[in-house]
């Protein structure tokens, strides 16, 4: 009789454990899905792509401690950014693109890739002049502050002249970002004179379109 009781208790215990694991697994599964679907913030230079980054980063904060400008923050819980991972809010403090890239050096997990040797090759994001309605250059005023702030002035941001239809005799001095040179450092967004920046650094996957493979531009060199 005692043996039967023991066996019953044993099975109940096992069932209880399985149920707890099942409930836990469900909770974690939902949470994992949530974490993976969160939009990518601006990551420090050399960061792996977002889906690899969030599973490789050990969340130790050593990149943040190495940053001389305190540009890097660690995500606090419940902020919509993968908890404990490093990110930048470039409107507040952009990446000043140190030549020796001190933030990548201490990374122990490889989430910031040490193959990143040249800061100019960083792809933290892509600046986009997103609000044409409020950008004063589009009103015909001279500004070009983002252009002047750009560390790759004339390459990552150029000024294009467009006829000013309102006056009929002037040009609009429009800043244009070129994705092959832009590192996403955010100095343009940081410098924008509006109350809310008209030029913003966006994660590359959000900023970039993709041309269908079947397009051929006859005037471009195909190589």
């Amino acid at each position: 009789m005692k043996g039967k009781q023991d066996r019953r208790g044993f099975f109940i215990k096992i069932l209880r454990t399985i149920s707890a694991l099942f409930a836990g697994g469900l909770f974690f599964g939902a949470y994992a899905k949530q974490v993976k679907s969160e939009p990518s913030p601006i990551r420090p230079p050399g960061a792996l792509n977002e889906s690899d980054f969030i599973k490789t980063c050990i969340k130790c904060g050593q990149c943040l401690e190495a940053c001389p400008y305190s540009s890097i923050k660690l995500a606090k819980p419940f902020t919509g950014i993968a908890i404990g991972t490093p990110y930048l809010v470039v409107r507040e403090i952009p990446c000043y693109m140190c030549e020796d890239i001190p933030c990548v050096k201490p990374c122990p997990s490889g989430a910031l890739d040490k193959k990143m040797k040249e800061i100019g090759k960083a792809k933290m994001g892509l600046a986009v002049l997103i609000d044409h309605e409020n950008c004063i250059a589009y009103q015909g005023l001279r500004c070009e502050v983002c252009y002047r702030a750009c560390p790759f002035i004339g390459k990552a941001i150029t000024i294009e002249f467009i006829p000013n239809k309102r006056t009929g005799r002037h040009a609009l001095f429009i800043p244009v970002v070129h994705s092959n040179s832009c590192t996403g450092c955010g100095m343009c967004e940081h410098a924008c004179i509006l109350d809310e920046a008209a030029i913003k650094v966006l994660p590359i996957e959000i900023a970039k379109g993709k041309l269908g493979k079947h397009y051929r531009f006859g005037w471009k060199d195909e190589s």
Binding site: K13, R16, T17, A20, L21, G24, G25, F28, G29, Y31, A32, K33, V35, K36, S51, D52, I54, K55, T56, I58, K59, C60, G61, Q62, L64, E65, K73, L74, K76, P77, F78, T79, A82, I83, G84, P106, C107, P108, S109, G110
Partner: protein, 272 residues
């Protein structure tokens, strides 16, 4: 019996000092440029040279990505080596800041005489530990690192906690009202990992003389892992269970009980 308060709490005082000092050094490393300890308990550098890494986080990264960077692998190996000497779950008792919260809950629970009606197996943490490895591999994400109150707390202390305090209050209330020693004693997978290491570690509790249940009654009452003070946990007077957190509560309780910290099986010296 009329020893001083400090003597009767010497290990508790030493533990709190270490726990607080470690977090203070991390904080100073981050904020004042004092580079004795940089990083946090997930991964750190001592004096800018010696890397350490949380093996549980490293295992999850391996499960999620299928590869592992040499720095954190070495760091985890050094951490395991270190705790093989000082006792696996010494991490829990002497380093982990969550221990301060759960010990406070335990103290308050005893003071208020709260009942402990629910019991769950202390084996849950072992299952939980293996579950997070499987789930990390399954979902391709370091699953526990995203919910770990341990990381939330040590990161929070160093870099600002944000809304993470809610989780820690919940943990405190859980330990206080729901299950006694609920987190550290039953659920925490990090503790489970260190208990594997603790089985083989050098510095352990030793019991001099015969095991006498009547004499040890009070020690068992204050032990956060009471099972480690059962007769089966001792072999020739030496603790063989890995679950002991080396907190020294039983040692400081009374000199007459015959508990002490000893290193290795045969050595008589090494009294801590």
């Amino acid at each position: 019996m009329s020893r001083s308060f400090i003597y009767r709490h010497r290990f508790t005082i030493a533990r709190r000092t270490t726990q607080i000092a470690i977090m203070a050094l991390f904080y100073a490393g981050s904020h004042f440029g004092l580079k004795i300890l940089t990083g946090n308990l997930s991964s750190s550098k001592i004096l800018g040279l010696l890397p350490m890494a949380d093996p549980v986080a490293v295992i999850q990264i391996f499960a999620a990505t299928g590869s592992i960077a040499p720095d954190i692998l070495i760091g985890a190996a050094i951490a395991v080596g270190f705790y093989l000497v000082v006792g696996g779950r010494s991490f829990c008792g002497w380093v982990c800041p969550v221990n301060i919260i759960t010990d406070f809950a335990r103290w308050l629970r005893n003071r208020l005489g709260l009942p402990d009606p629910y019991s769950i197996s202390r084996m849950v943490r072992i299952w939980f530990f293996f579950a997070i490895i499987v789930l990390s591999a399954l979902f391709g994400i370091t699953i526990f690192e995203y919910v770990s109150p341990i990381s939330m707390l040590h990161r929070g202390i160093i870099y600002g906690i944000g809304a993470g305090w809610i989780v820690l209050v919940a943990l405190f209330l859980f330990d206080l009202f729901v299950i006694k020693d609920g987190w550290c004693g039953h659920l925490c997978p990090v503790g489970a990992f260190w208990s594997f290491v603790g089985r083989f570690s050098l510095i352990k509790i030793k019991l001099k003389g015969k095991y006498d249940p009547d004499k040890l009654k009070n020690a068992i009452k204050i032990c956060p892992e009471p099972e480690v003070l059962s007769p089966s946990s001792f072999k020739n007077g030496r603790m063989i269970s890995g679950n002991c957190i080396n907190c020294g509560r039983c040692v400081q309780l009374s000199d007459k009980l015959g508990f002490s910290f000893k290193k290795s099986k045969n050595s008589e010296g090494g009294n801590l």
